[in-house]
């Protein structure tokens, strides 16, 4: 048991470091590389790693390392943006449904259940295909798709706390419904929602990379890991390393986000720690 405790701690630290590096790359890519990710050098396509280009160049002679670093931003923008959208709407819907009950419950909860009738990547593909790709569209689409994850959780949590004495007290003190929801209920259900947010962010990133891979996500020439993998796949037999770097970046980031999310989940629910 102790040994796995150490393994856990190491895993948490490594994951946190990976996520931190990805965040830093998204916020301040210039701290990692001075090279322009969009600048083409037609004379040196597929330059070998080393020298001025640490990981070599791609099919247009663009620096792969610079594209890798700059590629972090769209992925994280979509991951965080869509979770914020889904979290805000889902929480609002869930709290209203859970606290007001009756007709409100039916309207809010059934409407978010309808989203669950569609396989997520299918709906995302459909909307992105017709509406057009791009980061802002992805945030809206994935945000919409993830609303039920938050609305169901917020609903269940609200049901659990709404009979609490502090809610009674707030009502007795003459607080309006809005005031009660905001100051009595929301702070008490925030924990699980934040945990859900961290896991949803990882899965949003997964969905984004898949859509970008299909050409329905981040638009070229902007660097994006999913898009880079799609391109590198075509040159897989000439330069196998090219496909390896974005794959590694994507896998490591999502894995780290999931690991951190799991840690949060264990922390929030002591019943799970035993497992």
């Amino acid at each position: 048991m102790r040994r796995s405790g150490i393994a856990r701690r190491v895993r948490t630290i490594v994951s946190a470091a990976c996520v931190a590096v990805a965040l830093l790359a998204a916020l301040a890519p210039r701290a990692f590389t001075r090279l322009d990710p969009l600048l083409m050098h037609p004379t040196i396509p597929f330059a070998a790693p080393g020298g001025a280009y640490p990981l070599g160049t791609d099919e247009f002679g663009r620096d792969i390392f610079a594209r890798l670093i700059h590629g972090a931003r769209p992925s994280l923008e979509v991951a965080l943006g869509s979770v914020l959208v889904a979290g805000a709407f889902g929480t609002l819907i869930g709290i209203l449904g859970g606290y007001l009950a009756g007709t409100w419950e039916v309207v809010t909860m059934r409407s978010s259940d309808v989203i669950l009738c569609f396989p997520p990547i299918l709906l995302a593909m459909l909307v992105a295909g017709f509406l057009g790709a791009g980061v802002s569209h992805l945030i809206l689409i994935i945000g919409f798709l993830y609303v039920p994850q938050f609305s169901r959780l917020a609903f269940a949590q609200t049901l659990a706390v709404r009979r609490g004495e502090f809610v009674e007290a707030a009502r007795a003190a003459g607080g309006s419904t809005g005031w009660i929801l905001r100051y009595a209920i929301l702070p008490n259900i925030m924990g699980p929602l934040i945990v859900q947010g961290s896991l949803s962010a990882a899965s949003a990133m997964l969905l984004e990379s898949g859509l970008s891979f299909l050409g329905l996500g981040v638009l070229p020439p902007a660097p994006s890991w999913g898009l880079m993998i799609a391109t590198a796949r075509k040159y897989m037999f000439q330069t196998p390393y090219y496909v390896l770097w974005p794959s590694l970046a994507l896998c490591l980031t999502i894995l780290s986000m999931n690991t951190l999310g799991d840690m949060l989940l264990d922390y929030a629910d002591p019943r799970r720690r035993r497992m």
Binding site: R3, S4, F118, I121, G210, M236, S247, C251, M257
Partner: protein, 312 residues
């Protein structure tokens, strides 16, 4: 209830495609993004032929009544009936999904039992790491790397055109292996996790201790007492995943050139083939709802407490 949901989905699909920008008439006349704009008379003629000039309510009524007769219209691309194309592609997808689900289910149970038996050890940690990988690594990355290693470098499995089982059974199975394993690895992340958690929980139950203290062998305890109960959440998650995969295997089908329903949808979206998109989304969503219904029903069958009732 399920029928009502299918109706809601049909209505939503209708609404969605009318809300999204783009005009099928221009697609038919081959002028999307328009090199030369067709004359207004041409546009009006096609619009009338398709019935798109009628009121929205009339169009909606027609869509629903046709649907009741399982008529999904014809493809804008080559005028084949949408239903026929779907029936042709759907089984191919289902073959892939069934193979992957079977592998993931088996693997998940084996992994879950192993991890639970060696709970807290390095083996458990390593297996959990594998499961986390399945959950976190994008399926298209895993697929690409598998194709690179086993298809191209080692040449163990063929890379190329799909062969039907009836034509060449062995070739078909070799063709199926890589995509199915890719999909199964991805699924394993979800299934194995639930399996591990659920088996761990059951292992600590009193009745399992009772079974052990009766002197039953470990294998018998696991198979007859632990797995039986632990299987309920596993079946639930497999059912849900199965539903998601119908229409959701697009990445795997795309990478491995598997002619399934997802790739059909992908090309239909790219070609703005409205009736085809409408039909596929409707069929996959209906199957999704149906499978969720079956999962709900399976609780009653699987739950030992229900089964043991009525026995002496």
């Amino acid at each position: 209830m399920a029928a009502a949901l299918v109706w809601v989905v049909a209505t939503l699909v209708f609404a969605l495609l009318h809300l999204l920008p783009g005009d099928p008439v221009l697609v038919i006349l081959g002028a999307e993004g328009g090199a030369q704009a067709p004359s207004p008379a041409q546009v009006a003629a096609v619009r009338h032929a398709l019935g798109l000039d009628q009121a929205l309510s009339t169009q909606y009524a027609r869509w629903i009544t046709r649907l009741a007769r399982l008529d999904l219209g014809v493809s804008l691309d080559d005028a084949t009936p949408v239903t026929r194309d779907i029936l042709e592609r759907l089984p191919t997808s289902l073959e892939l999904i069934c193979a992957a689900v079977a592998m993931a289910l088996l693997g998940g149970i084996v992994l879950g039992v192993t991890a639970a038996r060696f709970h807290g050890s390095w083996t458990d940690a390593a297996l959990s790491g594998l499961l986390a990988g399945g959950l976190s690594f994008p399926v298209f990355v895993v697929g690409t790397l598998m194709l690179l290693v086993f298809g191209v470098l080692l040449r163990w499995f063929p890379v190329g055109a799909y062969v039907a089982f009836t034509e060449d059974p062995l070739g078909y199975l070799r063709q199926l292996t890589l995509p199915a394993v890719t999909l199964a690895f991805n699924l394993l992340g979800v299934v194995g996790r639930i399996a591990r958690g659920s088996i761990l929980e059951v292992l600590h139950q009193d009745y399992v201790r009772t079974a052990r203290s009766k002197g039953l062998g470990e294998a018998r305890v696991l198979s007859r007492h632990v797995l039986r109960t632990a299987l309920i959440p596993i079946v639930t998650v497999v059912g849900v995943q199965f539903g998601i995969l119908i229409g959701g295997t697009v990445l795997v089908e795309y990478i491995f050139n598997w002619p399934g329903i997802s790739t059909l949808l992908f090309t239909a979206i790219q070609r703005r083939d409205y009736p085809m998109v409408q039909g596929i989304v409707l069929v996959t969503s209906a199957l999704f709802i149906l499978i969720n219904l079956l999962v709900d029903l399976s609780y009653a069958v699987l739950d030992p407490r229900v089964r043991y009732e009525g026995r002496p």
